[in-house]
Symmetry: C2
Subunit: 144 residues, 2 copies
DNA sequence: TTGCTTCTGATAATCATTATCATTTATGCG
DNA sequence: CGCATAAATGATAATGATTATCAGAAGCAA
């Protein structure tokens, strides 16, 4: 099983892109974070190690990381794009608490299968999907 | 069965808001459109009838129409908010063609039920959800 | 009418993201 | 090595949808 760093390096080679300290640093920082992250948050973290880095670079590298198959964009609809790990992290959807913002990753194979069938029944070939379940989590309900 | 205009008028009264020519005109224009509409598109239409109208007003009234329960926001993730009719138009999700942008409204009661169960299994009380199925429609597939 | 509140339109502000561009850095080749 | 070429970076400006602001207009109450 190849490491994320190796995959990224291979991706750069394949695309005739160069391995640079900034790219390495941003990838490392991203890999250390397990939660969903915004470009801004990642920028703040990386800046602590090297305050000459620009946020444009963070946006750029984040895009590369996605292309390399190591990250996935997640859009909770609040105007900020979030990124989550994608390697060895199979597809899933999100359950989001409307009150505290807590998120849980969920998968339901039956739902996935039904989605495919629904699409086919309209002549579509399903390529991907997004599903966000919004609700109130147990904690927040008990506080009231 | 109350008309959309009546519902909107009642909503305005309930909220101590006024019925104005602009609000009437924007609502009428919105009701005439059956497809998903952006604020920009609606603004263009309304401007033809009254070119003194401001786009800020269109945004404002669109928000009122949503609050009144006559419209719903739809986010296809391309950075522009769309609005669709909501009254006498039961809940549904969207199937979107990645190639031509065509959209189809879909509902699957089994999926809906499973979503509720998934949420409950994590202690969440489901309030709402978003589901977008992306694929390639029959037309686009045949063109290749 | 007079005062008061709400609405409106024009415009500026916002905010995440993207584009631009001059400078720096890396790489290949003679 | 040294030069030529290409890619990467950081600072900053631009973008584009949406929101806030604010002065003037319009509706309502007494």
């Amino acid at each position: 099983m190849k490491s994320e760093r190796k995959i990224f390096a291979d991706y750069l080679v394949k695309k005739n892109l160069r391995e640079t300290p900034q790219r390495g640093m941003i990838l490392d920082a991203f890999l250390k974070i397990e939660e969903h992250t915004t470009a801004e948050q990642l920028y703040d973290i990386v800046k602590k190690r090297d305050n000459t880095i620009g946020q444009a670079t963070v946006y750029r590298v984040l895009k590369l990381i996605c292309d390399a198959g190591l990250a996935r964009e997640v859009d909770f609809g609040d105007g900020v794009m979030r990124y989550e790990h994608c390697y060895n992290h199979p597809h899933h959807d999100h359950l989001v608490c409307r009150s505290c913002g807590k998120t849980v990753e969920v998968v339901d194979l039956v739902i996935e299968e039904l989605q495919k069938r629904v699409a086919e029944s309209f002549g579509f070939e399903l390529t991907d999907h997004e599903m966000y379940l919004y609700g109130i989590c147990g904690n927040c309900r008990h506080k009231k």
